[in-house]
């Protein structure tokens, strides 16, 4: 295995689950999620030779992932409600669905899915333990802007999750 392949393999091993979660937050089913994940992995593989360590590998990989996700969304119909018009999907038809823990996770996941993209980006990166500075670097915005968006994202998430109860 070449050095490049090794780095790529390590990057995916370390961040694979996080990337899969990120891909899932932009897609609605497993096959789309897998497609987006592969797309991200391919983009990382292509960008890796040019990466000289100007930023951390984590911000490097998340920046690529966010860009691919945005491209993916642009190629498909929008699934988010416009800002200020939060809509909740119809209640599930099957009352048996969901176990207690997974129900909470599903509620959070569904609510994140409904956030406008700029808030979804900030909240998913926050939930992946990225600092304000790292998020600012990934998204190319100021740290203060990250804080503003995060506050708004949390507020919207609370509302959405409350409506889903």
């Amino acid at each position: 295995m070449s050095g490049l392949e090794e780095r790529f393999h390590k990057l995916l091993t370390d961040n694979g689950r996080a990337l899969m979660r990120l891909a899932a937050s932009y897609t609605r089913n497993s096959s789309d999620r897998d497609d987006l994940f592969q797309d991200i992995a391919l983009a990382v593989w292509r960008a890796l030779p040019a990466f000289r360590g100007e930023s951390s590998e984590r911000t490097f990989i998340f920046r690529i992932a966010q860009n691919r996700a945005i491209t993916y969304m642009a190629q498909r119909k929008p699934t988010t409600a416009p800002e200020g018009e939060i809509e909740i999907p119809d209640p599930r038809p099957n009352p048996e669905i969901g176990f207690v823990t997974e129900q909470q996770q599903t509620r959070l996941f569904d609510a994140i899915h409904l956030l406008p993209v700029e808030y979804r980006q900030v909240i998913t990166l926050t939930l992946e333990d990225l600092s304000y500075a790292e998020i600012a670097e990934v998204l190319g915005i100021g740290e203060s802007n990250v804080g503003v968006r995060l506050n708004r994202a949390r507020q919207m998430l609370r509302q959405l999750m409350e409506k889903q109860r």
């Binding site: 689950r17 899969m20 497993s30 099957n94 048996e96 969901g98 823990t101 996770q105």
Partner: protein, 195 residues
């Protein structure tokens, strides 16, 4: 309070269980079978349409009644199928729980389908055989003994095929019941946090 909230979300977010790939594959395979089942509906529909066209071309009470009877079975079958297939096409979320729930729903749907088929298939077979016999008899196609023998053997062959299908369905029913019991047990263990 707010940081606690973020920490809770973070735990829930990072704790999202990856749906086991074999469970996803199993559900995807099931979806293919469901689609095939949907397409299979078009064969009896085509036969019914052809019978209706035949009844219009050679109108008589028997052929009209026969076509109407087939339409009745088609409509009953469709109404049942639409009700029975509700919610079985895709999981409501990308979680293990949702995939297990979908598998349980599909098992129940298949069991209902088999029970329904156990009732409807003999009815349709009897209706079609009696209808065909009456049409052959009234059109004067059954004159010699050998005509009766050919028709009798064809009917016996048809009844044999239908019986074989029923036997296969009965065996499937047992397998599905075992699978359902396993899935319900799995769901119970997941709810109680056991491995």
């Amino acid at each position: 309070m707010k940081d606690d909230e973020l920490e809770t979300w973070r735990r829930q977010w990072q704790g999202q269980p990856a749906v086991p790939i074999d469970l996803i594959r199993k559900v995807e395979r099931g979806t293919i079978y469901l689609r095939v089942g949907e397409y299979a509906f078009y064969l009896p529909l085509a036969i019914t349409i052809a019978t209706t066209i035949g009844a219009f071309l050679n109108p008589n009470l028997l052929s009209i009644l026969f076509a109407a009877g087939l339409w009745l079975f088609i409509i009953i079958g469709r109404i049942f199928s639409n009700k029975n297939m509700k919610g079985v096409w895709a999981p409501t979320a990308e979680t293990t729980a949702a995939y297990v729930d979908l598998s349980i729903l599909r098992c129940r749907s298949r069991l209902s389908q088999i029970r329904f088929s156990n009732v409807l298939t003999p009815l349709i077979t009897t209706f079609v055989l009696v209808g065909l016999y009456e049409m052959f008899a009234s059109s004067g196609k059954l004159e010699k003994t050998e005509d009766y023998v050919i028709v009798g053997l064809s009917f016996l062959w048809t009844i044999g095929v239908v019986s074989l299908v029923q036997i296969i369905l009965a065996r499937q029913r047992k397998k599905i019941a075992v699978e359902l019991a396993y899935l319900l047990d799995l769901k119970h263990r997941m709810e109680n946090g056991q491995s």
